[in-house]
Subunit: 797 residues, 2 copies
């Protein structure tokens, strides 16, 4: 589809009897291979009668969805070949791993990636045995599966992934099988509306295939149990044009599905032609195929007197106890032989020509399309470097900027510079401007294909900022976009990024597994900008305060996760420059959108960020060659400000106290070296934080996270952490830090409480600090705003 009409090119017309027979042969072969994977560890063809020792000791996997997935694989092969399509498929019911593995083994992709698993009897035996076998391959469609960008285990994200893959790929068709189980999830239900964000000119096409096999694990599904007319209305209401295919007689279904696919692709081609050649600007109604076939189709019809085919009982392993029960063993053999494997594979186990007749070639194969191994297509982002956007800092703490607004300038340049190649997007739930990234709109618009009205601002059919009030859709789009070899950033309110906790789990697991596969090329990292953070919820209060996403991510594979808390504008630029260049990570960047003091010039910022954590000599009062009396550490913009103010107070009031100020940008540097690749060696940690001096650490989020990162360090017993402790409401930013004991006055008190022998001057300073806090408390409740001389401050260092 690099040409507007590509979807319709090639051989047209309904399949003739020969082609139908070939399609059926491919499908039967795939079904045979799927069942074989679940059951057999030897005798794959089967060359001889099945004996117990041919059967795996543990029968694992999901059969129910496999025949449907195989059917789609077969028919996608047909249209790809007939129309020379550049196409991938997102397999929503990815727990049907055996199907997709079968398809890629048949199309030869599997053997190219795993040469041991040859396309013959020996390789077939390996394919079967390795499935869900210790040391083998996972039971789901996974990174290990060629041609996949989607692990289907959790359910809910297939359609969002498909749309993400199609964005800025005008020649790509992304088919997407959505199981009727998955269709019940909220994220999937919301993803249908992604059709309002797909530009028929610059983006490819998504072809959703809603597969109604009627059952989940143990229940009927909602969409299979409403009248077809109601389902039709639902899909039309989502903006689609449904094409229905139903049946349980294979040849009739082949015929109908072939016709439906041709019909859908013709419509897509017509949409592209209208938009690309004729300049139509109305929102198209994209086709969706509704495919109704029995769950566990062609599998055991009944087992032990209970219906299995066409019911939820075929969800996992339809026939159990096969090793132990000769009758079951016989039933399995009958089932396997029902596919007539001798017609499908030659004596050497090689698929016969008829089976492969529908299979496309080279990179056109679903198992080999480079879009499904996005690193193969990845180009470096043209990054301008932060110099042009850095804020000048003559002296620390004398000027202030909105860090995310400064970053917005740099992102805007990236957006401009990627306009010719369109490989960069920014996603967010209606917060791009609220998060001060509005400079982006100088470079591009907000994607919008729905109705426009006078007064609308920055909407554009070809925009590359994507805003929708669904974190799930934002995350799914971005994952799909990155996995197909592009770049992006997700900007979110800090608290609500928890909405995608489970999605980021899966993406991290995907990256972790991918890194172990030499054939999966590295992709761009998934970059989060978390802003509108816990300390600045003036309008929204308690419900919008949660800094725990960092904790969540840090539970995950250390090879993949990175967390940065830049304290000012230039450090944010430096971090952003770094994460946008990185590969195969999930980078979490937490930064404020409110005016923040500038602490470091760009060169200092770069050095500081490269180290990830370091002493700010100019901010402390220690003498060279002497251990400090106390370390004031900070991570995050608000904590840094409070620590700087505390250091200032200490300098002025206890000038003899040797204070070291340490700022941490890269949180994982605190971890032991054995636990995270960024972890500091103990000697470096001790050099920074000392082994025996009190450390008062002001942290952006939940304080115990710092303990969990540092508990193995020598000085851990002296570490005292302040942070957010779920004390919040709609109040002033300064009141927020006071409520959570993170304010400068409390930090000074903490220092005095922990450094012995400071004498009477410290005692009275401590009392003065406590008094200020009391005064603030009274004042704010009376006047509704901070006492300026208490909350305001400028650095005197």
């Amino acid at each position: 589809m690099t040409e507007p009409t590509a979807a319709a090119a090639g051989r047209a017309g309904a399949p003739d009897e020969n082609e139908l027979a070939a399609l059926d042969a491919h499908w039967r072969a795939a079904n045979y291979l799927a069942a074989g994977q679940i059951y057999l560890m030897d005798n794959p063809l089967p060359a001889e009668s099945l004996r117990p020792e041919h059967i795996k000791p543990r029968l694992l996997g999901h059969w129910g969805t496999d025949p449907g997935l195989n059917l789609v694989y077969t028919h996608l092969n047909r249209v790809i070949r007939n129309r020379d399509l550049d196409a991938i498929c997102v397999w929503g019911p990815g727990h049907g791993g055996p199907a997709v593995l079968a398809g890629s083994w048949l199309d030869g992709s599997y053997t190219e990636v795993y040469p041991d698993v040859t396309r013959d009897a020996r390789g077939m035996a390996r394919l079967f045995r390795q499935f869900s076998f210790p040391g083998g391959v996972p039971s789901h469609v996974a990174p290990e599966t060629p041609g996949s960008i989607h692990e289907g285990g959790e359910l809910g994200y297939s359609l969002a992934h498909a749309y993400g893959a199609a964005l800025d790929n005008p020649g790509l068709l992304v088919a997407c099988v959505i199981g009727d189980g998955e269709a019940e999830t909220g994220p999937l239900a919301g993803s249908w509306h992604a059709d309002k964000f797909l530009d028929p000119v610059h983006d490819g096409a998504v072809l959703p295939i809603l597969h109604l096999n009627g059952y989940k694990i143990a229940n009927p599904t909602v969409l299979a149990r409403i009248p077809e007319s109601e389902l039709d209305e639902l899909l039309r209401g989502y903006g689609y044009e449904p094409v229905h295919v139903s049946g349980d007689e294979p040849l009739a279904v082949h015929r109908a599905l072939a016709r439906a696919m041709d019909d859908a692709l013709d419509r897509i081609a017509a949409i592209h032609r209208r938009a690309r050649a004729e300049g139509a600007t109305d929102r198209p109604r994209w086709p969706v195929i509704v495919l109704r076939t029995p769950k566990g189709w062609t599998g055991p019809h009944e087992v032990g007197g209970l219906a299995v085919e066409g019911t939820w009982r075929s969800h996992q392993v339809p026939l159990t106890g096969v090793r132990e029960d000769p009758e079951r063993l016989r039933q399995l053999e009958e089932w396997l032989r029902s596919y007539r494997p001798e017609e499908l594979f030659d004596d050497e186990g090689r698929p016969r020509p008829q089976v492969l007749a529908c299979v496309p070639e080279g990179d056109r194969r679903l198992g080999s399309n480079p879009h499904a191994n996005g690193g193969r297509l990845l180009r470096d982002l043209p990054l301008p470097g932060p110099e042009d956007f850095a804020v000048p800092v003559d002296a620390p703490g004398t000027t202030s900027h909105e860090p995310t607004a400064v970053l917005g300038g740099m992102l805007s340049r990236v957006m401009t510079d990627t306009a010719p190649v369109r490989n960069f997007r920014v996603v967010g739930p209606d917060e791009t401007a609220s998060n001060r990234l509005q400079s982006l709109y100088e470079a591009t618009g907000k994607t919008w294909e729905a109705e426009e009205l006078p007064g609308d601002e920055h909407l554009a059919r070809d925009g590359r900022v994507m805003e929708v009030l669904s974190e799930h859709l934002c995350q799914g789009w971005l994952e799909g976009y990155l996995l197909t070899g592009r770049h992006g950033l997700f900007s979110s309110y800090e608290a609500f990024v928890h909405i995608v906790d489970s999605m980021v789990n899966q993406h991290i697991k995907w990256l972790r597994s991918s890194r172990a596969l030499p054939w999966r090329m590295p992709i761009a990292s998934l970059n989060y900008l978390l802003t509108s953070h816990v300390w600045r919820q003036d309008h929204n209060g308690f419900s919008h305060q949660d800094p725990g996403f960092v904790d969540h991510v840090l539970n995950k594979s250390p090879e993949v996760v990175r967390v940065y808390l830049p304290p000012d504008a230039n450090t944010l630029l430096s971090v952003a420059d770094h994460v946008l260049r990185s590969r195969d990570y999930v980078n979490v960047v937490v930064a404020g959108k409110q005016p923040t003091f500038d602490w470091l010039g760009l060169e200092q910022a770069r050095e500081h960020c490269a180290r990830g954590a370091g002493t700010w000599d100019w901010a402390g009062t220690e003498s060279r060659g002497r251990e400090p009396d106390v370390v004031l550490a900070c991570a995050g913009d608000v904590p840094t400000q409070e620590v700087m103010a505390a250091a200032d107070l200490l300098r002025r009031h206890l000038p003899d106290l040797a204070v070291r100020v340490v700022n941490v940008v890269d949180l994982t540097r605190l971890m032991p070296r054995e636990e995270h690749p960024h972890g500091m060696p103990d000697a470096e940690f001790d050099g920074l934080f000392t082994r025996d001096r009190p450390v008062v650490f002001a942290y952006h989020g939940y304080p115990w996270l710092i303990h969990r990162l540092c508990y193995r360090r020598a000085g851990h017993g002296n570490l005292h952490v302040r942070g957010y402790k779920e004390s919040g409401t709609t109040t002033t930013p300064f009141d927020m830090v006071v409520r959570n004991d993170l304010d400068r006055y409390r930090l000074v008190m903490d220092v005095i409480d922990r450094v012995p022998g400071l004498g009477v001057r410290a005692v009275s300073l401590r009392q003065a600090m406590a008094d200020v806090r009391t005064r603030h408390h009274r004042w704010i409740r009376e006047h509704g705003e901070d006492l300026p001389e208490v909350s305001g401050w400028s650095w005197s260092g």
Copy 2:
């Protein structure tokens, strides 16, 4: 609606001019009060011309949605009064706090709960000043707001909450305002399908009111920018009958909305009549009202030359700089006076009779309905006690049971015993049977109003087990059900409960805030049963492994969160009995569904659970009065089994080693007493774990969680934790523990590595353990199953 036809009872017909004028007066009053809350800290009526000092120093809050919410409040008042309805409303756009506060102040509920905020000028001044003011009330509809069960900040869950509230409340109408922003979220999009789970006989009615004001924070909304016919199809496809109301001329909108509400309620009454009196069993098409009115309606039309009313610019504070700019101050005064407050309030600031004409009385008021303060209606669950379900344990580790199956028996009894009152439900994403709770089906069916087919099992229109493949919907239903005074349990795959991380955040915050309000009566706890856990993902592997929900929950308010890891069937029964009796908590119970050794008889289990953590003397080898050489600690069923096996190995091979075995059921007992109400005093902790002996701790989840809970304890430096470290795939359960170094052999090696001076016998035992692990590794990769003599084992203690 205690009578089937109640929704239609009372005065019928369209409102006459008088009634319309009264409705408009109520609405204008509410709008005035909403604007007043955002702006004024004095001069509320306003009695005199506005001066800068009357204006709040910080203008906070959301105006845009308020006029729409007020309109709904006004018209709900009308129908409640006319029809004597028992009704509550879930305000999806709950960030419009000023509106709902205005409504409850007008209906008198507010003053009853907060007597200082009288329904006169003095009280109005307080109402205004306290809003979003330090020490005042949050800017959102929150627990502090009378009549609410829903904080609207995060968006996505209103409709699920509404359905949850309606379940088993046959006389209740639950109106639900859904903003067009919220409607874009996945959870909301999926919640529409809850109509397939609402029984018109035993449940109340939900009346969704989709409010299209057209804009989010900075963008148009999807549903406002598709043709009305398409939206109509969408809602019909979801199973509803839409009633459209649009306009920006107040009286016309009043008239149309009154008619639409009457129409919708008549339809609901007809549905109830058909189902309840006539025995109809087809799934009804419930009405939904689609209400299109301008965002920020009646507010400033233009500010600084930019359109505000009817655009996203009215989302928060439409008119800023009011204190500083006399022209803006004038514009605000003009805006406030446009409501003609002198017609609405008398000289004392009391609402005039016309304003209150539509307001219902007593518990019928939206601000006072007891369903919105569910604790008022809460009845104790008839709990049978675990005795009838306990498994006999003659000797530890000799029999085994599926713990969740045993629990299923008890839950089934609860289900039976609550049949007359219908105040208990179990929700889960299609996993009740998979999680071995299938005994429940002896007591009730699975809720299902969609089509039934031959072969379906356990479906029932009036069932109280709710299964849908949406964790969001499960969570939302249960929250709504609990908040209206009932009981329940959410059974989930452990890994995928992360899907509702963000929802549970909000619920915990809700409970935390509620506990501080004397008028909010305690409600039943939200109980999670997390099963199909990380160690037993034989079919699904890595993507289904995540024990981190516990970590997530433990970041939250300690007053609210509880975490239990019962190691066997009887401890699970005891824990379940406890959590089902508890109030105002979020209880997370992690327990396996696979056969697990029985360790404790019921009485022992009860004592052990009451302590939350304790020594299992019979399992260790220490002598009384002597400190042990090492402590083997465990939390979770699989870790307990491995620790017991390790203790057994040590007893047999190093009989002189004094081993103490400690089992932890209640994880928060490990925390310091100051950090959690269940936290152990140091003396107790030291008594259990010693201050100086090595502790090898086998934990169910991420090992660093144990460090984060224990870092302040004296013996923390000697604590060595094993747990899940993201090493997983589809393999055997025993291979899973080996991969993560949690297996018995590794634990024995850990003990030997940490106890000094064990001599040559220990050295050779250590080598033997390492050899066994190597043998296992080789064997499993060859045979696909465990070496029985390595993984199997029975307790010889």
